[in-house]
Symmetry: C2
Subunit: 248 residues, 2 copies
């Protein structure tokens, strides 16, 4: 029996945003591996084993999934959103390094609707022009590298999406990130706090950069930052496709 590993994105939360390809992989699986709240989204059924693990054990989880695949199981690793955006795909490939036996396995990544795009859709089109996606967590990179990237994104005129803006173990960094943005961008730039998008807990709050406060974000929030050109039209906000000759 030849195992398979599918690294699947479940989208932001709504059933209607799970792709048919992702659903088919889940339906064919013998084993589901992932972070506890994502595994909870999978319906139990006979013949399917659910392996839920805690946060911050990505490498153990990746090795476990690969090891079961090598044993012939049909393994699906689930992430919220898209598996390639600050999620499990990179961890799986990291775990493949130095294991040529595992590298020959039947592995595929199946994309999903990532949180920033689901949030943008609710807001209008705030990422309607060039944008940068930044993981604000400094668990795996120096905080100075995060702020350096924020400055380049702001100076480049990019709209931005922040993943993992704030958690219990990192309560202060997001305030520092906002302070950096306030140095680089007009205070009138709109910021969107999109929490639990497309779930029953969804809450979207729009403020200006001047009004933004760290406690508006938590670990279920994706934060979108407009550019100086982002504007309201009716109940929506969008970033125009055009950039005038003078630049932003």
């Amino acid at each position: 029996m030849t195992g398979t590993l599918r690294i699947v994105g479940l989208g932001p939360g709504a059933e209607g945003l799970i792709t048919p390809d992702a659903q088919a992989a889940i339906d064919a699986a013998t084993d589901i591996v992932g972070y506890i709240p994502y595994v909870k989204r999978i319906a139990p059924r006979p013949g399917l084993t659910l392996h839920a693990s805690d946060n911050r054990v990505e490498m153990d989880r990746a090795a476990h999934a690969l090891s079961m695949t090598a044993e012939g199981k049909h393994v699906v690793v689930v992430s919220s959103g898209d598996p390639g955006v600050f999620a499990m795909a990179a961890a799986i490939f990291e775990a493949l390094e130095g294991r040529p036996d595992w590298q020959a396995l039947d592995i595929e990544v199946l994309p999903g609707i990532t949180a920033m795009l689901a949030a943008a859709a609710r807001i209008g089109a705030p990422l309607g022009h060039d944008f940068a996606a930044i993981n604000l967590s400094d668990n795996l990179k120096p905080w100075e590298e995060v702020t350096r990237r924020l400055r380049h994104a702001a100076r480049g005129g990019f709209a931005m999406a922040f993943y993992n803006p704030r958690s219990k173990s990192r309560p202060h960094q997001f305030g520092e990130a906002l302070a950096v943005l306030k140095e680089e961008l007009p205070g009138s730039v709109p910021i969107f706090f999109a929490r639990a998008v497309t779930t029953p807990d969804e809450a979207i709050r729009t403020v200006t950069l001047d009004e933004a406060k760290p406690e508006m974000a938590d670990m279920r929030t994706v934060v979108l930052v407009g550019t100086a050109a982002t504007r309201a039209v009716g109940r929506f906000h969008y970033t125009p496709r055009s950039v005038p000759e003078a630049g932003v």
Copy 2:
């Protein structure tokens, strides 16, 4: 009869990547509006009128969709990928400006799998860390603004995805973009030319920045650019989640 406007992303091409929400909107539509090749992806049926239009008429198309919605039709505007990523959503909101009557219409954006994430999934996880999405077309922004953004993205250590890298009417810009990247990044950085991802015409080519040539891209190609840290593992490439203390 109250009209509805749904701004829908069809994903990159594969049927299995069209979300159930997008399919439901298409199934409920009376009118489909979009660029010719995207409207071709919609199956004709009685009661459904297909309105296909040429490229570069986004504002006419947006006004037409809004006008039919105001008449009570159930209109779906289709884009490839995600409608909020260099696609029709921003054009619709632009067309809403100065039309308070249209702003009260029932309008929703439904996200889709955008090309860069489908391409990344095929490659491994090249966007596995912070990344920037850049529209290389200078139809609506000065070319100098494009190159300025390329430099900020490169200096910030972002992986990159380029949409609209090259077309018949803009044959030279992509070569200039590659020249800018060669000034800013090591020549060993991997570049991925992902053409017609998830369609029968799919072709993915991986080269180094030193080897990259403008003619490797056409208007159906999304180009992904790794960082200095992006590396191969087996048949995949990925950008590690970690950034060492010294920075990239």
